[in-house]
Symmetry: C2
Subunit: 206 residues, 2 copies
Amino acid sequence: MAPATRNRTTSQTEQIREHVLITADRLYYSRGINAVGMDALRNEAGVSLKRLYQLFPSKENLVEAVLHRRRGIWNSLVETAIATGSDIPRDQLLAVYDMLAHWFDEDDFRGCVFINTFGELGGTAPHIAALIRDHKANFQARLAELVTQTGAPAALAHQLAILAEGAQTTAAIAGTNDAAHHARAAATTLIDTALATNRPQAPTTG
Amino acid sequence: MAPATRNRTTSQTEQIREHVLITADRLYYSRGINAVGMDALRNEAGVSLKRLYQLFPSKENLVEAVLHRRRGIWNSLVETAIATGSDIPRDQLLAVYDMLAHWFDEDDFRGCVFINTFGELGGTAPHIAALIRDHKANFQARLAELVTQTGAPAALAHQLAILAEGAQTTAAIAGTNDAAHHARAAATTLIDTALATNRPQAPTTG
DNA sequence: CAAAAGTGAGAACGTTCGTTCTCGCTTGCG
DNA sequence: CGCAAGCGAGAACGAACGTTCTCACTTTTG
């Protein structure tokens, strides 16, 4: 019952679990999910099949865990982008596109995991499709919070989200990170236009 | 050697080929490519495996043919949208988003075939990835032509393309066609802003 | 009509899939 | 020490994959 030992054991299992998730994420992301068998993952992660199935009772369960982990990473990236730098909502929104530009520059960048997975499994795995839908709705809701803070109409959030999604797929397919800069420029125009037209030229008393 | 018979035979082969392509497209689009085996396609299309492999020497070849056919359909939709209605480049650009709105309304809409296929196969099938990249570049180039006609700077074409891509993935994942309208509104703002700022308030002679 | 070529239905091939099982070996604990 | 439990390595399972082959039957053709 020594708590130290108990904790160490738990933490080791957690470490292996994390290692498996990282490896699965890398393989799925680079090759697609169906193209990566449990054997390939076993070899790459250096973990026995028994332990694999002990950590994740099925491949679908593992895929969900990978997506769940990615969601956390994405949210961290977004929050870091928002929290770092300016505290003006307009600039915080733009910081999201700067974050995208850095991400697109990574060597193994191949688009958004959620979009890729939706295309591959969305038609046959409703639970995974729902998870992806939820994640995207979450991101849109976060943008909507910031848009509200700017005082612009809520529709702007949808437009900004579409730009972010489009930048990810465009960058992935084209193989360049130009899309992030184009999306940022477009977002700037949309935000500033929304702010300008929302504040009527002849100010009314309030 | 009767030319009529020869032609009829050829045309019948073409009909079967087209029927196979339509069936494969439907199955691949709804379930993903890896999830649809040649047996399932054989059953669904009512064509023998022998004829299937006589028409398409391999599954990858078939996938390429499906994408090639979709590219033609997409180009037709774009050109019809551009040709129908206004002949003002600005409105022709916006007509593309109206076309998207109609497309998103289809019952079996599940996003852009090219984006979905890139996510699933782009990492392992370079030839297919290149085909997809080429198709997207083509679409961007078409937008660029129209943008040039408006007199707006070329960067606008990239922004509009990103909006179109983002609308497709957003509509697919969310399961609504709202994204098309949001993208259209954003496109309107971007185009009009580009046109306004490109024509300086104090007109120069030209 | 007879011979040759082509066809559809589906069995069969070898491989790979997701998952489970076997079997020595280690390990923790009385 | 002895024993139960858990482990890694990998064999094994049934199913499904892409592809090829068999074979009885049409169709074409001289």
